[in-house]
Amino acid sequence: MEVKREKIRASLPLDEPDPNKALHVRQVRARDLLRGDIEGVDLEKVVEEAVLTTRLDKVLNWGRANAVFPATFGLACCAIEMMSVVSPRYDIARFGAEAMRASPRQADMLILSGRVSIKMAPVVRRLYDQMLEPKWVVSMGACSSSGGMFSNYAVVQGADKFLPVDIHVPGCPPRPEALLYGFNKLQRMIRGNPDIGWRTRYSAHGTEEWARDLGKVTDEARDAYAAARDIAEAAGPPVSGSPGTPVDVPGPPQERVAVPSKPERDAGRFI
């Protein structure tokens, strides 16, 4: 029997990419383990009906994904939407994350619900450090993801400047459904099969903010911009509201037409 088991293990490695084959291997192994206790048709029946084989980390991640303990922690107006996620109407209990923990020592998910001021950032970081591993961070709303409308001296421009953030939920504030959707994405991440991002899906790598400076404007693009701008200029100034009027075509920065300075543009406007 031992020899046979070794033979199977050697001939069919577990890292087989074909899932059906991998399942078959696991079933064969489970049958090996049970052999001796029951035999024959009973053994086959038990393996078929009662035995579910999996990998330990898969079970572990399945359990983790369905028993997340969020920290009771609100930062700003997004916290109102976060609170209603627990309510019966939206009910995050469906996904096993309804037990909001009032202590970071008992929580493993931190929802950054609102803008993080630079005075609050060390506090948030300490809360994160106090949480138990493994832990996840959901950045909820525009403010904690990018600073949002608070482009000023007091607010951190994106919480991932001081924390690792797993999921960014867009919105201002996001609806509770959006937060639930983000949480479902997080669950898939925890289970080990994260969804691919939109950049991968649309082959848009290289459009990240940090990569924009690296991008070079091609000659064709520059010519096309110039031609389009000539057409637009020949047609005269656009009349707002009328359809079909040529609009200003954005071009590369060095090719832009002279922009009137602010006082000139604001001359006729009451400020």
Binding site: G147, M149, A154, P252
Partner: protein, 176 residues
């Protein structure tokens, strides 16, 4: 609220009591304002509080203003309230910007008006106006290690440029 003639009467009385203390006055939007020499701000506020017939006993607010590019650049506003007559008067002290690394200074009133303690700290926090004689002048809202005076008009906005269709020309280069 004293009306415009009433404001001028107060100004005349103040000029008698403290010559050269009041440099101007105006009555706008139903609000009376005295412009005051910052060196004499304590005398003026004490006079408005203690003189019979005035008795503006409540200092409702102290706040700073940055009038850049006007000169003098900074203003400190003291909003006084007579709670018996429900009359308000504003005293404004104009401060020059003393230069790159120096801060404008004005005497504190926090010993006579305890409410000014925190409000002067707030003005110091955001505008870098030093209230000489204040017992505990340090930042009150911003972190203590913060560098700069964030409500000054020449303080950089900070953050990252947010692109809207109307700011596209002001923030070039984002689409390259």
């Amino acid at each position: 609220m004293p009306d415009a003639p009433g404001l001028e009467l107060i100004r005349a009385d103040l000029n008698e009591a403290h010559p050269d203390a009041i440099t101007g006055s105006y009555f706008e939007y139903g609000q009376a304002c005295l412009i005051c020499d910052p060196a004499k701000i304590r005398d003026v506020l004490a006079w408005l509080r203690d003189t019979p017939g005035q008795e503006y006993t409540f200092l409702a607010s102290v706040h700073g203003v940055d009038y850049l590019p006007a000169e003098p650049r900074f203003g400190v506003h003291y909003e006084l309230l007579n709670m018996a007559r429900v009359e308000r008067i504003r005293v404004r002290a104009d401060l020059d910007d003393p230069g790159h690394d120096k801060l404008p200074e004005i005497p504190t009133v926090s010993d006579e008006w305890p409410t000014a303690d925190h409000q002067e700290r707030e003005v110091y926090d955001f505008f870098g106006i030093v209230f000489t004689g204040h017992p505990d002048l340090r930042r009150i809202l911003m972190p203590e290690d913060y560098v700069g005076w964030p409500q000054r008009r020449d303080f950089p906005m900070g953050g990252e440029p947010v692109i809207f269709t109307n700011t596209e020309r002001d923030v070039p280069g984002w689409y390259a």
